[in-house]
């Protein structure tokens, strides 16, 4: 897409790696998420994704979330982000969510299921990675 810059944020000890690639149709959040101020940390991400779904009319989009642990304020932000994807899917856009977790991370699997229950339109796959 023209004039639409990709957004990459490097991981820290308490915030995830974020890759938002408009050309590839890839939105990826990976790592740990318990920043001191989640709404401030994720503000540019929410803004980017909201704008992306407006622009990305016919584009196939995969929203990949692979988070080992997230705190409660991140949970709220993730709900907002997933609602954006759900709304876009409801408008007929080709978007799907891949919730990726380790087979041993029972908590992350449960969290994925609970997000899935609260979404209506967007295809939501829970991808469980096997160890070894």
């Amino acid at each position: 897409m023209n004039d639409f810059n990709n957004l990459n944020i490097a991981p820290t000890k308490s915030s995830p790696e974020i890759t938002l690639d408009a050309d590839a149709g890839l939105l990826r959040i990976r790592g740990e998420s318990f920043p001191e101020n989640a709404s401030k940390f994720y503000a540019p991400v929410i803004e980017w994704i909201a704008e992306y779904f407006v622009e990305a009319a016919g584009r196939k989009t995969v929203f990949e979330i692979e988070i080992v642990y997230f705190n409660s304020s991140t949970s709220k932000v993730l709900m907002n982000l997933l609602d954006l994807a759900d709304y876009a899917a409801g408008e007929g856009k080709d978007v799907s969510v891949h919730w990726i977790c380790d087979e041993e991370n029972e908590t992350a699997i449960e969290c994925g299921e609970e997000f899935k229950e609260d979404l209506t339109h967007v295809p939501f796959a829970i991808v469980i990675k096997k160890n070894g």
Partner: protein, 186 residues
């Protein structure tokens, strides 16, 4: 020495304390101690589920101190530089990991804290799940820095009702303590 460190050390060891931190808390403290806590749980061969729950409660408690403690150090030169103070203790006893957290609060906020805790502490698993999801979808509570979700999340991880108490310090302040007990499913 006027402070008997050995007595203190043996005393908390007898109470099953794995870990205790008292003093100023920053985000870096949460990150650093968090890494050590996970490592400790791994060496103690606690199961993944138990470890995740203890870690989750630890982070919520520490970040509550970061956001809500009414006791802090402020730089006279830079008002943005401040460190809030509190205490966090993790102990292991009778099949539970108890995560205790304490900090100073204003007396006038006591009822708000009490009501928030009482509104969730005796709810069952399904009720807590429903409330958590409702609050997550809803608007932020006015004046709240957190989503208000943290307390519900802790109640969901607690294997028995959360315990708490207020100890009056003076006309302005009280000390608030809370205990969340994660079941050791290892």
């Amino acid at each position: 020495m006027d402070f008997d460190l050995y007595q203190f050390h043996e005393g908390i060891k007898k109470d099953g304390v794995l870990f205790c931190y008292s003093g100023p808390i920053s985000q870096a403290t949460v990150e650093g101690i968090g890494v050590t806590l996970r490592l400790n749980m791994e060496i103690a061969e606690a199961g993944g589920y138990t470890t995740q729950n203890v870690f989750l409660v630890f982070v919520e408690q520490m970040q509550n101190i970061l956001n809500y403690s009414e006791e802090w150090l402020t730089s006279e030169l830079d008002a943005d530089k401040e460190l809030r103070k509190g205490i966090l203790v993790i102990s292991q006893a009778e099949g539970y990991f108890h995560v205790y957290c304490g900090n100073r609060i204003l007396n006038k906020d006591m009822d708000v804290f009490r009501n928030r805790i009482e509104s969730v502490r005796l709810l069952g698993k399904e009720e807590l799940k429903a409330l958590y999801k409702e609050r997550r979808k809803g608007e932020r509570e006015p004046g709240s820095k957190g989503a208000g979700l943290g307390l519900i999340d802790m109640a969901r991880r607690s294997g028995k009702p959360m315990e708490y108490q207020f100890t009056k310090i003076d006309d302005t302040y009280s000390f608030f303590s809370i205990r969340v007990s994660v079941e050791d499913r290892t």
